[in-house]
Amino acid sequence: MATTTKKSGFTSAGSKVSYQPEQKFDNKKMRHYMEGKTFVLHCHHYATLFTQLACDARDLGGTELLTEASCETFYEVLCDYFKKHKVSDTTDRIAIAEQYYGYVGMGTIEFNFGDKEGFAVMEHSHIDEGWKKKWGQKEEPVNFIGIGYIQAAWGAVFNKKPETCNVEETQSIVCGSSNSRFTINW
């Protein structure tokens, strides 16, 4: 659980839903599916090297492109899940968005959405801890995939265009903090 003072707002508190995806292996195509979408296992080397590539290509908009790919992908994942499983309650949607992140191994995340702004806290982060494991601490935040996920979650939870919310990482595990924090504005 995130050790943070919660403002009043929409959170997952009180929700009783549980993220339970349908998973299957197609032994003809040899593909794994989660909720009908092909998924693959990869390691922190792969994820952090993609992130490093995005950083190296910053002049080409690399970090924004990584966030964009994340946002587009996870927005579809969450919207499809909400639709298929008839998850319409805001609290439940936030709970699913939090649980999905941990289920797929990206860490823990807690959301708190107010009227015009909100925040998210990660006590654990695959990207940050993977980066530290591979290269050690870094002065700047690197969780561009996480930023995209937060945009996607906000958009899916509130039926908004995800790219219309601005997310900024203000504190990072990769920089030595005990958790990562993100501000969300729309």
């Binding site: 040899m30 794994h32 989660m34 998924f39 993609f50 289920y103």
Partner: protein, 194 residues
């Protein structure tokens, strides 16, 4: 060949992974995550588009290298894991060739690609054929797009024939000679010494 590929795939494809109470998956000596394949394809397409003609080759190299490092480290974790040893271990007669064949069984079982070795000259050359792979989902790429298979394949040859882990990385190279995403019936990957 001693490796029963269908048995390896049948058993190892059933392994289900999910995050622990910290939302993390520490396994095979690395941190693992399971994301939609579309995410990886999407970023690869976007960064190659942004790179343009001038930087296209550089971007390709970095995408392939990400997979190679992944394949080298995670591959080592896999072939030294309890799961691998319990399923593939009893089938191994010739090292490291049978380990390589077994590794492609895992490669397939985990959904990276339906791929197998079709030619192997120990220490010199390996040809891999992939009948389906998620990178082939990309529509109309400018060039063959299976950077993940390319990188992982050369990394597997490093694990088999280069200096012992972790000092043997980068001694092989891989060329994709056929591509489903370019209209071929299967993908083909030729690994030779760098």
């Amino acid at each position: 060949m001693a490796i029963d590929r269908s048995q390896v795939i049948s058993q190892l494809s059933q392994i289900k992974i999910k995050g622990d109470s910290n939302g993390m998956v520490p396994a095979f000596g690395v941190l693992v995550q399971q994301l939609p394949a579309n995410f990886w394809n999407s970023f690869s397409e976007k960064i190659l588009d942004a790179a343009g003609d001038a930087l296209y080759d550089d971007a390709e190299g970095l995408l392939e290298n990400a997979a190679a490092e992944c394949g080298y480290h995670t591959g080592y974790g896999i072939i030294t894991s309890e799961e691998f040893n319990s399923v593939v271990g009893p089938m191994i007669e010739n090292k490291p060739e049978d380990i390589l064949h077994g590794a492609y069984g895992v490669f397939t079982a985990w959904g990276w690609a339906n791929a197998e070795i079709t030619e192997l000259v120990p220490g010199e050359k390996m040809v891999v054929r992939a009948y389906d792979y998620y990178e082939s989902d990309v529509k109309n790429p400018k060039k063959p797009f299976a950077y993940m298979i390319r990188g992982v394949s050369r990394a597997f040859m490093d694990l088999a024939y280069s200096d012992p882990y972790p000092k043997g990385f980068g001694k092989f190279k891989c060329e994709q000679t056929k591509a489903i995403e370019k209209g071929d019936k299967y993908g083909e990957f030729v690994v030779t010494k760098a």
